[in-house]
Amino acid sequence: MPITYTSGDQVEVYRFNWLITLGVPATALFLQAWLPHQFPAFAMLDLPLLVTIFFAISRRNPISGLLTGGAIGVFQDALTGLPIGLNGIAKTLVGYAASSLGVKIDVENAGARLLVTLVFCVTHKVVYFMVARGMVNLTMNWSWPHELWSALINAVVGVFMFYALDRFKQRT
């Protein structure tokens, strides 16, 4: 029976094998760099963000979530030509927020996951935009239709990806 309480004591907390902990983010980073070259439309996806959200809501530990998000974001920045820290800051915040939310509510069903991922994708874009404009003086165009469409696609992909990654969960 799925747990739907908001009590932190009753929601299930998962941990992951170290191989999965390192391998899944590394694979996401690799695919993020490789897929857009083969299929340019894939640049709209943000696989490292989806992995950050998944680990955050599964572990339900804010510190673990923000550190995972920060590390993934920094490595993602390192692969781009942009300053390191843009994705790092955005994913740190998303990791913290997602794990904090995971403590409060249950996000095990598809509907909740879709909604949560959609919200966090938009949040990530907003934070990224603000940091890029405010700190790096990077010129970026903000288009709500594009960002919402992109967030929706990421959320749909995220739902399927989360189900695939659920196999690697281990109960604490």
Binding site: F30, A33, W34, H37, G70, V74, Q76, L79, L82, T139
Partner: protein, 409 residues
């Protein structure tokens, strides 16, 4: 105090991590001009990802090659025929262009222009991308070990691609021209207006710094101006697609890149540029008739016994073939079509050898019954700039056989 730390532990850690990253960003923004060095984290990330990209690219291209080169050969024969016809057409066109190029070099030499030319390139394969909509970069499979350095130009046969942004041991980052941080000195081909080609956040390419009182038409070609000291002058950048009024008295000109930046597989890195003054080449011409003659059936070469005969001196290095007579017409009326060949305006570079008989005509244009072909040596205008003109015969026969008997002696 401990209870406060314990209560706000999560927030404190979050604040610390954010502060560290913000400080890191601030440091990078301050050192934004420092592109020579790579941060350790970038090296780790690239070293972590690129080996897998190389393997996948190898598997992908290997499978594709196997399919396309050994199994899926439908239409190859027809394509081969078309390509051969295209080669013939291009060879004729090359003759005319060589003349134009030679004339341009002479004029440049007169004006003592210095020019840059590509003297060495290195082919590389594209193995990955930056994976971000905001940063348009590519990864190639050549790096410091192959002699790559930052700011080297990256091109394809269609047009320019970008420049080397960072180099690692066996891979390099290439900044594409549609990235918003890139800039290329550009010149419009017809109007000769100069500006800067930049990328936009949306991934488009625009030509900036062209005043609104200038007239720019869609369809005009944009080429490199050489002003950025990265790309040599004259390489294609793209085509103007849209012209509109912009801000601050400048036109808003959209450019479609000549190279397909989203489908790049192989690129060339310009590893060496030569700056030199063009020399005034003493070039002769090869005519369209000679090109056509090579395609026609020819009389076999003379037996080698002819080589034992004392050779007669060739008139000069600038000697060119006499005008080729058309069979059935007087030899003097056999000038090639004007559209194919522009006669060399330098009359001193041509030593006319009026043919008296069919023996002076190119062998391929002679009747099959004629004996002995004695074409004069032909100098081909070499397109290489500033080099000693090579003497290349139009056909192998012309070097093995003595000069025409009716030439200057």
């Amino acid at each position: 105090m401990e209870s406060v730390l314990g209560r706000y532990k999560n927030l404190i850690v979050l604040a610390c991590v954010l502060v560290v990253q913000v400080l890191g960003l601030a440091v990078q923004v301050k050192r934004t001009t420092d592109t020579k060095t790579s941060r350790l984290i970038r090296i780790w990330a690239v070293d972590m990802v690129t080996p897998f990209e190389k393997v996948l690219h190898w598997v992908h291209s290997g499978t594709g090659n196997l399919w396309h080169n050994y199994f899926y050969l439908r239409g190859v024969r027809a394509e081969n025929r078309e390509l051969k016809a295209e080669i013939e057409r291009l060879r004729l066109e090359q003759v005319r262009l060589n003349e134009d190029a030679a004339q341009a070099r002479r004029l440049q030499a007169l004006l003592a222009f210095k020019e840059q030319s590509i003297s060495q390139t290195l082919p590389a394969q594209v193995i990955g991308s930056g994976g971000s909509e905001q940063s348009r970069i590519l990864y190639i499979d050549k790096g410091q070990k192959d002699g790559l350095k930052t700011d080297m130009a990256v091109i394809t046969v269609d047009g320019i691609v970008g420049k080397v942004l960072k180099t690692f041991s066996s891979t390099s980052q290439v900044l594409l021209i549609d990235d918003q941080s890139s800039g290329v000195g550009a010149i419009l081909e017809k109007s000769r207006l100069q500006g800067i080609v930049r990328g936009t956040p949306a991934g488009e390419v625009v030509l900036e710094h062209i005043m609104t009182d200038n007239s720019v038409q869609p369809g005009e070609q944009v080429r490199t101006s050489g002003g950025d000291s990265i790309f040599p002058k004259g390489l294609p950048i793209g085509t103007v697609t849209k012209v509109g009024g912009g801000q601050d008295l400048f036109l808003n000109i959209r450019v479609r890149p000549a190279a397909n930046l989203s489908k790049l597989e192989e690129v060339l890195i310009v590893t060496k540029l030569v700056e030199q003054e063009p020399t005034q080449l003493q070039t002769g011409t090869v005519r369209a008739a000679d090109i056509l003659a090579e395609r026609l059936p020819s009389v076999p070469d003379k037996p080698p016994a002819d080589a034992s005969k004392p050779k007669q001196e060739t008139p000069t290095n600038e000697a060119v073939k006499p005008p080729a007579p058309v069979p059935g017409k007087p030899s003097g009326s056999a000038a090639p079509p004007r559209a194919d060949v522009t006669p060399n305006p330098r009359s001193d570079s041509i030593v006319p050898v009026p043919p008296k008989s069919a023996a002076a005509a190119p062998s391929a244009l002679k009747p099959a019954t004629s004996h002995g072909t004695v074409p004069a040596p032909v100098n081909v205008a070499e397109p290489v700039q500033g080099t000693t003109p090579k003497v290349r015969p139009a056909s192998p026969k012309s070097t093995a056989e003595p000069p025409p008997q009716n030439g200057p002696q």
